[in-house]
């Protein structure tokens, strides 16, 4: 660990909100991973004796059940797991696209840079979520399309930030040294530009994940994302809205989980940004 990273870690630790958010986040992740071990119910079994039952400790449905008698604790944990998994995978896609695009644009510069940035400008002025909805209409609702389209939407900010950094890295002496010793553009971008971008990339990665989780649950809420029998938090909330007068726990439990997860990720991401002192591009 170098001095810069140690400094950043110290600053992050002295930010109580970010630390608390980190703990809550860790607790949610641990709960989704190990919670099912302590739960006698699984997410798909229908308990005919307890249909739309209130949350109670006595009947072993701690968060209650839905109309079909499925255990809400198990379903919420499974849904959270799906949301986090989609968030991570789609974030990775968007980070990979954004970093490559930004690094090439910033490092190559000139007319290429101008054209690439103009494209980003056009794309970011558009209601991308409508295009994703449009894609689900055309190609049907499939899981892989969901990953790709969500990942394809999240990379714009990342590309912009990376480009700004790459522009300044380009003028460094070690780049000149690499050029004189005969390294090609592709090699310089991969070996010298991208590794030096790590700080801002980590910060924006932590801020991209909540956006993507939000995006996925938004689509699932509308019935355009994860399909039955699978469930993400968005699907569960949408079911909960339908039953909210008769069985409010069906709304409150998954809604509370999503709100807590997104809030913590945002606070933690803001903390990371302050700690690593990254300026928005």
């Amino acid at each position: 660990m170098n001095a810069y990273a140690q400094d950043a870690a110290r600053r992050l630790r002295s930010n109580p909100a970010a630390v608390a958010a980190g703990f809550v986040m860790a607790a949610i992740v641990l709960l989704t991973l190990f919670g099912p071990l302590f739960n006698p119910n699984d997410a798909q079994t229908l308990d005919w004796l307890h249909l739309a039952a209130r949350p109670a400790l006595t009947n072993a449905h701690w968060f209650g059940t839905d109309r079909l008698g499925r255990d809400l604790f198990a379903r919420t944990l499974a849904g959270t797991r799906v949301s986090i998994a989609v968030g991570l995978v789609a974030s990775l896609i968007s980070i990979a696209v954004g970093v490559t695009y930004g690094a090439v644009s910033g490092y190559v510069g000139g007319r290429t840079d101008h054209f690439m940035m103009r494209l980003i400008e056009i794309l970011s002025g558009l209601p991308l979520i409508f295009f994703v909805i449009f894609l689900t209409v055309i190609f049907g609702r499939s899981q892989s399309l969901l990953f790709i389209s969500i990942g394809a939407v999240g990379w714009l900010t990342m590309a912009r930030i990376v480009r700004g950094q790459a522009l300044s890295i380009r003028r460094q002496d070690y780049i000149a040294a690499a050029i004189v010793s005969g390294a090609g553009t592709g090699r310089i971008i991969a070996k010298h530009v991208i590794p030096n971008l790590l700080g801002p990339v980590i910060v924006y990665a932590t801020l991209t994940i909540p956006q993507i989780i939000l995006f996925e649950s938004f689509l699932s809420f509308l019935g355009l994302g994860i399909q039955e029998p699978g469930a993400s938090l968005g699907t569960l909330i949408s079911e909960g809205v339908g039953e909210m007068e008769a069985a409010p726990w069906m709304l409150l439990v998954p809604g509370g989980f999503l709100a807590a997860l997104l809030l913590c990720l945002n606070i933690f991401g803001d903390g990371m940004r302050d700690a690593l002192d990254v300026k928005e591009g």
Binding site: P127, I133, I138, F139, I237, S238, G255, A259
Partner: protein, 308 residues
């Protein structure tokens, strides 16, 4: 200024044209036709259906026809709402969505800017921390969680406000959807205003203004506010996009008959023309708005007007 406007307009038209072209050909390239779900149609009926919608023509002829009808403001017939054209559906829903969105946007600006200024003036005090914590929550928690939670509390338990439904001109029906819709942009605007206001308040001319004895109110209104608002101006387009997106879920939850709900229904029913028309409308709106914001930007910051 006029020239500035026309250059931007000239740049926007090709963008819109490209969007229309790409979405149109994507739609035609899609696997399966729009009549696939129709139950066991005889070949003759199918052929008639296809010729009625122009599908028996080559794609470029269909494209030319679509462009021509777009120029007349005709988005073609809806595939699922059989007796309606897409233009009629949009015409019905648009005033509702516009009303909802305009109120939410106004609220976001009218509350967000003063809130951000207030936090900046109380920098590093509990009031500042509280405002900014609320802002994080407002940004992070999605409207499809906020709206049903508020509906449960204020509607189902306290009976103060209706949970869903729509009556033209009824403020009570608008209240919860507007609150849910305006919270994320409001919180973001408050945060942006606070950040830029802090920077402006540190500048020399503000110190001069205070030094010559101007009261705080005058310093803020006459000197600090305008430069501090430039980041907010550049956020306006994303803010409207966020309200448009939010109105999809808010209209669905609250049962408001706007275009957002048509789009969601259209997407679930795979109503090609309806969704295509909506994407074009939304894009055109945002692009048009982008031009207006550029003008506003040039007014707020004279340096933008100078050709570089």
């Amino acid at each position: 200024m006029t020239r500035f406007f026309f250059t931007r307009l000239a740049g926007a038209i090709p963008t819109l044209f490209i969007i229309i072209t790409i979405t149109f050909f994507l739609m035609r390239a899609a696997p399966g036709g729009p009549f696939d779900q129709e139950q066991s149609v005889s070949p003759q009926v199918r052929a008639n259906l296809e010729s009625a919608y122009g599908f028996d023509q080559p794609v470029y002829v269909q494209y030319g026809r679509y462009l021509k009808s777009l120029l007349r403001g005709d988005f073609g017939p809806s595939f699922k709402y059989k007796d309606f054209t897409v233009t009629e559906l949009i015409g019905q829903g648009f005033p509702v969505t516009l009303q909802l969105g305009a109120i939410a946007m106004t609220m976001a600006l009218l509350i967000g800017i003063p809130l951000g200024t207030f936090a900046a003036l109380r920098h590093n005090t509990p009031a500042d921390y509280l405002t900014m914590s609320l802002a994080v929550a407002g940004i992070a928690i999605p409207s499809f969680v906020v709206l049903p939670f508020l509906g449960l509390l204020l509607g189902v338990y306290l009976h103060w406000l209706p949970v869903s439904g729509w009556e033209p001109g009824s403020i009570r029906h608008l209240a919860l959807p507007v609150v849910a819709l305006c919270l994320p942009p409001l919180a973001y605007i408050a945060r942006l205003t606070r950040g830029s206001m802090l920077e402006v308040l540190r500048s020399h001319y503000i110190r001069t203004a205070f030094a010559k004895g101007l009261p705080l109110r005058t310093v803020i209104w006459r000197h600090a506010l305008r430069p501090a608002l430039t980041p907010v101006a550049s956020y306006l387009v994303p803010a409207v996009a966020s309200i448009m997106t939010g109105s999809l879920v808010v209209e669905t939850i609250a049962g408001i008959p706007g275009i957002g709900r048509y789009l969601v229904q259209g997407a679930i029913n795979r109503d090609y023309t309806l969704v295509l028309g909506m994407v074009i409308i939304y894009s055109a709106l945002l692009i048009g708005l982008g031009i207006l914001v550029d003008l506003l930007y040039a007014w707020l910051d004279p340096r933008v007007r100078q050709p570089s």
